[in-house]
């Protein structure tokens, strides 16, 4: 049984399921918990709690929904010496993430230019299944991308040095080893660099509609009425293949290390084992691919702005990972420990003063970017001390699916959806009709409610609300 702790927290006691080693905790209000209880999320949070060497609690953010092994919206930290790493705990789309770009323009400067800008972006940034990137890097050069991430992109003219401080890990996760990424993964990746992808990935032109915290918004370079661009994309086929490869390696490894799991998708190995270390280095390489990918798209966004509205002064507010495992220092049971934090559909949310933040964000905290579903609002939040105490410095990552793809398809045609969005003044370009209807706004939870839970629980604080003006879908 779930135990309600307060308005925003539900505890899953260790007694809930045989084999649980730690408690589970779900962040939700009365309505979201009902949605969460409709699928297997609670069971998956409990299943994660059975893994060896985890510390603290197995967590689910308010946008949580059923995933594979781990739920989407799950956070779990493993002791670096005693714990395990799970490829499924990061997910297939390694470093799927969000990047927010701020333009110097306001909506009044964009009269009649939103649609041309969207069309330009749609021409310049490849999207949809099967589409190749504009740049087909050689396998040797791809290894450099995997090592250097966004730094590779900047060194090759896709952006500026100043961009890097505004990316989680400065756009490059160290320890990446391209030799541990299979040739299959590289085959899937080398022609997909600089592509948006499909599914729930998107690019939106948005307007800052509400500012909740003027001081913090100002420090992030954001103000009411401003035109911003949100990019949601990941490591494409390369990352998906890395996860596929290491699920099998970990499954075989479990026999060797005497580990059994309740769900094969939770396959895991000790972090310090050869297989565990290899995965961490391959995952870092895939994460760097995603950082590079979003950096290249940023360059094309700047070019599109220059062509359509005459400025390329588009700055990065921040870039966050949603699917990642990170080696971080946290306070656990009163002592400082190094842990590997799995965030699967969750965002890092560091408070001010955290050593991992760049100098210019030291006295304000990390921007936490929460995209809504297509046609609804997105949010900027800021990391808090409370998140460090409770969630290993983590927060939610989006609205979270509420309806299946089949259900979404049955309820709406692409034409009707386009009409609805148009009636709200939102322009849409999508590669396929299937992709559009499956991502219709009410296929997701109410992002505002999700964000209110995060804010209410204190694991991130609201800064600004963004509303879409134009959407590009793969």
């Amino acid at each position: 049984m779930l135990k309600k702790l307060d308005s925003f927290r539900y505890l899953i006691p260790i007694s809930y399921k045989k084999g649980m080693r730690i408690e589970g905790l779900i962040y939700a209000d009365d309505e979201l918990i009902q949605q969460i209880e409709k699928d297997q999320t609670k069971e998956q949070v409990a299943n994660v709690a059975t893994l060896p060497g985890l510390v603290g609690r197995s967590l689910a953010m308010p946008d949580a929904h059923q995933g594979y092994g781990f739920c989407i919206g799950g956070v779990a930290a493993a002791d670096l010496q005693e714990g395990v790493v799970s490829a499924g705990g990061v997910g297939f789309d390694i470093n799927c993430g969000v990047r927010l770009l701020a333009s110097p323009l306001e909506e009044k400067d964009m009269q009649g230019k939103i649609e041309p800008l969207l069309n330009q972006l749609f021409r310049d940034i490849p999207c949809g299944t099967g589409r190749k990137g504009l740049l087909d890097v050689t396998k040797n050069e791809l290894d450099n991308v995997l090592r250097e991430g966004a730094q590779w992109a900047v060194a090759h003219g896709y952006g500026h040095d100043e961009d890097l401080a505004r990316i989680e890990e400065y756009g490059t996760i160290p320890d990446a080893d391209p030799a541990l990424v299979s040739s299959k993964a590289k085959d899937r990746g080398h022609h997909q660099l600089g592509t948006l992808g499909s599914g729930n990935h998107f690019l939106e032109i948005q307007r800052v509609a509400v500012v909740y915290d003027e001081d913090v918004a100002h420090r992030f370079g954001v103000h009411k009425g401003q035109i911003v661009v949100l990019i949601h994309s990941g490591s494409r086929g390369l990352g998906h293949q890395v996860c596929t490869d290491y699920l099998d390696i970990m499954y075989e490894g479990m026999k060797k290390y005497g580990i059994s799991v309740v769900d094969r998708q939770l396959a895991c190995v000790p972090i310090q084992s050869e297989e565990g270390q290899n995965y961490v280095k391959a995952m870092a390489a895939a994460a760097n691919f995603a950082f590079c990918n979003r950096q290249m798209m940023t360059h094309w966004v700047r070019e599109a702005f220059e062509r359509v509205v005459g400025t390329r002064d588009v700055r990065i507010v921040y870039d966050v990972c949603h699917n990642i495992a990170k080696r971080e220092e946290h306070e656990v049971d009163g002592s400082r420990r190094t842990v590997l934090v799995h965030r699967k559909g969750a965002t890092r949310a560091l408070p001010k003063g955290h050593p991992l933040l760049p100098r210019e964000l030291q006295d304000v905290g990390q921007p936490v970017l929460i995209p809504g579903s297509m046609g609804t609002a997105s949010y900027i939040l800021v990391g808090t001390e409370q998140a460090m105490k409770e969630t290993f410095g983590s927060s939610c990552h989006g609205a979270g699916r509420a309806k299946s793809r089949t259900q979404a398809k049955k309820e709406t045609t692409a034409e009707q959806l386009l009409r609805d969005l148009k009636s709200k003044g939102i322009f849409v370009r999508g590669e396929t009709k299937s992709g559009l209807t499956e991502e219709k706004p009410d296929a997701y939870k109410d992002v505002s409610r999700v964000v209110d839970v995060v804010h209410g629980a204190g694991i991130a604080r609201k800064v600004a609300k963004l509303v879409p003006l134009a959407v590009m879908k793969g």
């Binding site: 699928d39 297997q40 929904h65 059923q66 995933g67 594979y68 092994g69 989407i72 997910g91 297939f92 789309d93 949809g128 299944t129 099967g130 589409r131 299959k184 085959d187 899937r188 022609h191 992808g197 499909s198 599914g199 086929g237 998906h240 293949q241 996860c243 596929t244 699920l247 099998d248 499954y251 075989e252 769900d263 094969r264 998708q265 396959a267 699916r401 299946s404 793809r405 089949t406 259900q407 398809k409 049955k410 590669e431 396929t432 009709k433 299937s434 992709g435 499956e438 793969g474």
Partner: protein
């Protein structure tokens, strides 16, 4: 394009030997066959049907697939992962699948199709990977049924 929704889990493939399954975030494929090999073949067709409209694809070339796995379940995931890899990594769209040898731990197959052509092929959805979530390989009197969920 949408099939009449007489069964909630079926879309755009009413007359096929597979059906598309619902999942809160993603999709699954369930395929039947008079033999396990046939069920594997149908599952591959189901996978590619999620990604694109196979009516827009011709069989002009073939690829050989040879795989080993530790059990039947892993073999199914590896088989479908290979078909996905041929498409996403090799730009080759598989349409017809012929398994020539199959045991619990090994598979050999011919995949017929053609190179991906964005101008010609009607694409649908991106499949990221094949998962082990609620994976099932069942042998029964009528033959075999396999079930697999896809990460979208």
């Amino acid at each position: 394009m949408l099939a009449p929704a007489s069964r909630s889990s079926v879309w755009f493939c009413m007359n096929e030997p597979f059906r598309i399954l619902d999942h809160p975030a993603d999709l699954g494929v369930e395929a039947n066959g008079s033999t396990l090999a046939e069920a594997f073949q149908h599952a591959a067709k189901g996978l590619m049907t999620v990604i694109l409209d196979l009516d827009s694809v011709a069989c002009r070339e073939a690829r050989e697939v040879v795989l080993r796995a530790s059990d039947r379940e892993q073999l199914l995931v590896k088989w479908l992962s290979e078909i996905l890899y041929l498409y996403d990594g090799g730009g080759f769209v598989g349409k017809e699948f012929t398994i020539t040898q199959l045991s619990d731990t090994a598979l050999q197959a011919q995949v017929h199709g053609e190179r991906f052509d964005a101008a010609k092929h009607r694409t649908r959805l991106d499949v990221k990977a094949i998962t082990y979530h609620q994976l099932a390989v069942t042998l029964h009197k009528q033959g075999a049924t396999v079930r697999v969920y896809l990460d979208m």
